[in-house]
Symmetry: C2
Subunit: 335 residues, 2 copies
Amino acid sequence: MKLATLRASRPDGQLVVVSADLGRYVSAGRVAPTLQAALDEWERAAPALRELSDQLEAGAVSGQVFDPSQAHAPLPRAFQWIDGSGYMSHLERVRSLKGSLDSELQSVRPLIYQGGSDSLSAPTDPILVPTEDLALDFEAEAAVIIGAVPMNPSREQAAAAIRLVTVVNDVSLRRLVADDLQNGFGFFHAKPSTSFAPVVATPKSLGDRWRDNRLHLPVRVEVNGTLYGQPNAGIGMQFDFVDLIMEAARTRRLAAGTIIGGGTISNPHDETLPIKRDGIGFACIAEARTAEKAKYGRARTPFLKPGDRVRIAAGTEGGPAAFGAIDQRVELLPK
Amino acid sequence: MKLATLRASRPDGQLVVVSADLGRYVSAGRVAPTLQAALDEWERAAPALRELSDQLEAGAVSGQVFDPSQAHAPLPRAFQWIDGSGYMSHLERVRSLKGSLDSELQSVRPLIYQGGSDSLSAPTDPILVPTEDLALDFEAEAAVIIGAVPMNPSREQAAAAIRLVTVVNDVSLRRLVADDLQNGFGFFHAKPSTSFAPVVATPKSLGDRWRDNRLHLPVRVEVNGTLYGQPNAGIGMQFDFVDLIMEAARTRRLAAGTIIGGGTISNPHDETLPIKRDGIGFACIAEARTAEKAKYGRARTPFLKPGDRVRIAAGTEGGPAAFGAIDQRVELLPK
């Protein structure tokens, strides 16, 4: 079963069921007006949504053409967005940057931070930046949306809470990272609105592409039409989504609709940009730049500037995108 | 105008209008089902809520007895909770603690962090802790709930967005602060669910107790019936609520219903606990302990333990509490 939220007059949009090939949709309004409402009553809503999904696949309801540009973020505003850092090679590569962290900690527990969730971005929303000089970067990540989890949950409770899977762009302002981490109370200004793929899918609908509590799909990242990376989200993820949920709930319960990010997808290799056709590459610019510094003595790949386009989609080249594509253009905030 | 959210079957509770003396309430259901819904359409909702408030004060509607134990947090789950640190003397006192921060930064910009907002606590909810050894502390703060604010707002835009005022208990696990700040990505485990007073009030309804974008009221803190502090929230607040909103919106817009905390209230003085009847004291235990260390060479006041009660209320002794009282008991999470 795949779901999306279409833009609507109300801030939380309109929940729809999307066909497996993302070609068509049918309104889920008679089950739940919004995705949050469905997550609040998942035991009741999920079977009814699944029935709609079955009818759509069988042609029993015809539905309408699904236009990803009409999609909002699945939760246009969420009660919680927690981002983890599940991939060791991402941390290893960015540790050489200013503001890097204790190299010992990650092997014991995953790093997580509290992200802003009040204004999440649609897949085709512009990435708005207040000035050009903030070292704008993308971070392609897998993410899950969960049901309620009690404080200090068991591994079984955490695993059972995973409702939906998707990919996100954790937009990052690299120039503000060191300030946030070293002088302040943690990530804040460096992490503006996160962007979401148009579609979320149940783990079951992903078949063997969801196993071991990880998404086993390459996530392709293109900047201005050039491939920057296609690392596999299932490779090198030291801490899986259940680890991240358990870590997040150590001292607090998590409400239904909490979104957990797996961290910048990163596979170990010695490549630099441009990557070869069968290369792995990078899911963020910061990693590409540190690889370049190590190899050439200086970073070559520039951060994003107004007018640049970033496309992020999970799936093999030419194949269907499992969750549709994030496709955003960078824009400078109008004065 | 004063508002509250009563517990209801739905997760966001039921919006009610409360009388100025907090004695009676009337349902606001015909204006907006929840406080978030009212904030989403404030231009329409506020006049209608004010009319209900006027009718309640005039006796034109009789309403029902307001029982604070039936109150939920005004926003039982919010889309954003950002806590600032507006009071210099709080930072000066806690800087001597392990995990303290650069002493230069605060004079330039206020420190803020992204708090968890998915499960905010009611005024009489227990404070649940997973273990006894986490150095449990309270932090009495003033807070505002705002309307939507654009990225990089003007001072006028930020000021105009302040909708409602209240007090909160920013529950803190001191033992986890250094880990969160030094080894991780910022506050997370050290800041479990924040608790809220039962009532929120418009700035206008507070008269001259709201001026210069600050709350000018003493906030009384009692632990197990003993007065620990009554610092005035209007004194020593170097960065006011407009400064905090502008800082929070530097690289992102803020959605309606965002809650901004002013930081642990702290007035400069040389006292230690127990305080005299007309003393000022402390709005958190960490400050009392550092004052004791400076004076006696060791901290005397223990952190909170299961069974302890914390009461936080804004207002002069014996007078009415402007927002009602936060009155919580510490409980160990059942195994």
